[in-house]
Symmetry: D2
Subunit: 355 residues, 4 copies
């Protein structure tokens, strides 16, 4: 099978990881690394070989040996770069978040769909063995109906010059939720509480609450100011509860057969009274997870979706749902944390049922 040609745009923080994984992949032939800072690009490429180092996007887009570009530049530049690449007939992979606004994201999706090209978001966590396993378990009903999702992602982090802690960190939590929930992340509203205790000009500590269907709730805590690092998601279900502790390599995913049981035989929730509730204290089980690098799976999925002429798993629409929540969160913040409606995008009829 012939390799697909690809260029990486942006040699900053994330670009080198893409370069390394594209080079190690049998699907891809890395053709070029493009950055305005040529020295930086050259350092990422390493000893001279067959990978071009260039500061010219035009040169990259004009190259017929390049089938796709991977964009790893600041979020505010994603829209312009992606539209140019799509116009040149290139498939596009974009680092999270897809764009700096839903409007921009939607334009990118429209352009890709119009050109029959793949637009994929690099929601890296979705390709980790842990998240893949969580998706499987939820899909097969191991957790039952969803009761709550609580996600904590806190660490001493770089205060970003242009985005707040929601736009910096929450795309991880939101894209994971979108990936593991059977119907994608379908929050109709979000309430956001943020604080900027250092006077940095933007929220450094943030909380998102999202009522979900049937009384369930999703909640996200993101924080740049915590010296203790926590990356944990608790997913409570009617049958079992799952805890994903990403910092515990010996037991990342635990499934607790413990919880509250409903003895009620009625379909009417109002009939569920305290007297019909009982407790279950069962075993804990921790599935063995395969060891592979998430980025390797991600670049494989990008190639497979191009070759198969199909939507990628973390496609533009998945990323757009994330952007819609972030935008609603920003509006909620400006309105004292009020519960704010998340806009929904109509999926064109011809794409219905694809995901």
């Amino acid at each position: 099978m012939e390799r697909l040609g690809i260029a990486v745009i942006g040699a900053g923080y994330w670009g080198p990881n893409l370069v390394r994984n594209l080079r190690a992949s049998d699907d891809w032939h890395l053709r070029a690394v493009c950055d305005l800072d040529l020295d930086r690009a050259a350092r990422v490429v390493g000893p001279p070989g067959d990978v071009r180092v260039t500061a010219s996007l035009d040169e990259v887009l004009a190259d017929p040996a390049i089938d796709a570009v991977a964009i790893a530049t600041p979020a505010r530049t994603h829209h312009g770069l992606a539209l140019a690449a799509l116009a040149a007939g290139k498939h596009v992979l974009v680092e999270k978040p897809l764009a700096d606004s839903a409007e921009h994201g939607l334009a990118m999706i429209d352009s890709a769909e119009a050109g029959g090209l793949v637009l994929m978001a690099d929601h890296t966590y979705c390709y980790t063995p842990a998240v893949q396993k969580i998706r499987e378990l939820i899909a097969e009903g191991a957790l039952g109906d969803l009761l709550f999702i609580d996600s904590v992602r806190i660490n001493l982090g770089l205060i970003q010059p242009d985005v707040d802690v929601f736009w910096d960190l929450a795309p991880h939590d939101l894209s994971i939720m979108d990936f593991i929930l059977p119907g994608g992340l379908a929050a109709e509203a979000v309430a956001a509480q943020g604080s900027d205790p250092l006077g940095a000009g933007r929220s450094c500590v943030g909380y998102l609450s999202m009522p979900l269907a049937r009384g369930a709730m999703a909640h996200v805590h993101v924080n740049w100011l915590s010296p203790t690092k926590i990356r944990r998601m608790v997913i409570g279900g009617t049958r079992r509860t799952l805890v994903w502790d990403d910092l515990n390599p010996q037991q990342r995913v635990s499934v607790f057969d413990r919880g509250v049981d409903l003895a009620s035989t009625s379909e009417d929730p109002a009939d569920r009274t305290a007297s019909t509730i009982s407790y279950r204290l069962g075993d804990t089980w921790s599935p063995a997870l395969p060891e592979h690098e998430a980025l390797a799976s991600m670049v494989a999925e990008f190639a497979a979706s191009i070759r198969g002429g199909r939507t990628a798993r973390t496609d533009g629409r998945a990323a757009l749902r994330v952007l819609r929540v972030l935008e609603a969160a920003t509006r909620s913040l400006e309105d004292a944390g009020s519960l704010t409606r998340v806009e929904r995008d109509e999926v064109p009829r011809e794409l219905e049922g694809v995901r």
Copy 2:
């Protein structure tokens, strides 16, 4: 020093702990245990001795050898029992929460102040070695200015028949915050998000956000449905950050000399830009904590405040501040989680500065 006579009202879940600690105390002479269920009371008292078992509150309140009562009954009964005891000239200790409404709590405070009697809330956690140390560290400035407090208290818990998860669990977090913050818990507003995914008729998962002074924020996560138990509070300050993990007996309190530093010399927060922010990665320190039971310190404080004719550390007003937040949270819940004003009570001038 002569022992003070005391009776315990209520022999249910918490009463036996009070009985055990009052008996082991040199300050107290346990005179009676009062419960409508005489068998239950008798079991708590144990082999017959000099402790009366009775179902009659009147009998207890008429006994001149009884200086004080400790109330460990359901919250909705606190108000009536306390007023009766205060009217009979008894000092009163009340299990948390102080009352089922702020109005009731205020009436209890007024009655105690009018009678020159001690009214104290059994905010047990405030008497643990960990919380005492945290209060000391904050008071001496070890953490600097407060940036955020994040408290998580989740476990598989009994779904209460009459109160939601906020009124059941959050009094712990709120009373601790009130105790450790130099000026007490002075939240002006609260936003509450709750969910009832089982249809139990009340919130089983809840989140509280409270903007504090100077851009800081306090947040509480309480949850009855989590099979994994977490009791952790992270207190971020400009100088250091403290993590209290109550389930790690080998290292309950950790102080991280890590964080974000402001190089800005300007007093104007607007001048604090990203360029003036730097990071500090210092040592971690975990103070040795004395080992003593919190309830033993709590009953000693009750005796000391009676003997000293002074306000108890966790007095009625501290408990009232907790009730005010809970009531605002309930209103916020009813208003889709909107940020809701917390009522403040004027402290009579003659009590100013007492705390």
Copy 3:
């Protein structure tokens, strides 16, 4: 069912725990607490009631309402007290270790067997839900053949005035091994390494190595000088490996379906070469454990063995096997840690197969 009468001899460190559990038991009627220090005994008994406080062993042994005694005195006194009690026709429960020498222990066993009385060792850990579960799992073959047992029991501990760290702590590990291994602890030899770096006059840090059948090995690390507390046992088997971490209440027992597999079809171990070895990385499973106090189960077993006229689970012979290892360890220590034969006791034919 009528309660059996019992007296507790010794009101020091362990006695109060026995008193509390015997009182809470439906099997037992606590009749007396006997200690030369009458004040101490009285404090343990609490408010005056129907439990006699006495300093006279003779008085206890002469009481026909007392069926059994529980001895919780220093180890060097066990032998004399137990023989007196057995001579008076009382069943006897003895705190670990059974005696200060195997010779003394054997005399106690002989006396009990001659009198048709129960002699039981209070090997408390064997009655914890964790150890009960471990015994079950091994018995049903869940671990396969035993490969190794590694037990660590370290903490800052009281340096005992009369016994070294082996005689103080290792009885726990050895009695547990005796309990969970299908044939009991059948070590034929032991090598002991001890160190006394403080010049305390006895080993404060100790290691025991015991070759077991078919190339397996048991090892114990006991240490009074470690400020970090560890109580962990790893039990490796051909099918699965079990880890018991007694300080992790949320997951005390974990069973790892991971290990090394032998592809060899030959019965001859010499044929097992590296090429036939493969690795298995399966799931981890943590069984739910019932919550009950070990001492409650222990006193129930004591009553059941008396009533059933049968050998107790942790009977004198089990305790004797522990003493034999400890004595061999002492000899090994005196001989520079050489591998030293553990003496074995012939079990009378009529008792064969009982356990």
Copy 4:
């Protein structure tokens, strides 16, 4: 400063790590990678550039642009390769263990000393920030006199075809001890217990006990069969105790100001009785550790020792002390675990005090 030329011999498990670090270093110019398997060597080198890929050692040794070689081949080949390189005037870095026997190691040292060349062992752990800090703390007396060292290194590991678990894993523990102890590892004797429960033909589970000066003891547990991974060293001292948990990135090194104090004023250890012993329960402290890769520091030290004409920190003699312990352990194993004398090497007078 001109870079030193270097070749890596062996492109198997460890070689790629050396290649990566040498390339990233400003001290070194990687000139060649040599392996009999040219494809493997080519994969390690990556896209064609200025690094030669060769199967010819002679070619490497004949190249005047190559100042040094780094040997990352199986241990049994170290001796021959190193002697050839030293004879060709190259400085030599050798992966642990230095050689497959002390005799071979000594010959390598003699050859290096005769030629005035640097012979260094790649004891990688000694260059980690944690071990560097531990060495500092011990050197400045923070722990007081050494009481015990207990090292555990267990994991599911590859059963090696030619060496047992002692020779595979214990070089790590022994080289670390040699590095952190002020006078190097000066064990006069060792007792080794090993077990081969799978019939693999060599010990898969092993324990080493080493009496040290003044009653102290060092102990090592190495194990290929444990599905739970532990890498922890506890270092007990008269003043403080240090715990290094290499799998806890958030708190690798903890210093406990807890322990047993001696009130004795006598110099005679026999005077230290239980009555003069007291306990101290102080704070715990965890130093911040710089973040750098150990191998980067190691290759820097190799360059610095060559340029400074001085002995490397983990020089041949340090590695020889490790080999002497391993050889004594092997003899002990063959003698039922008896305490076996460790041979000591006279250090030539002219090198005294160098370390």
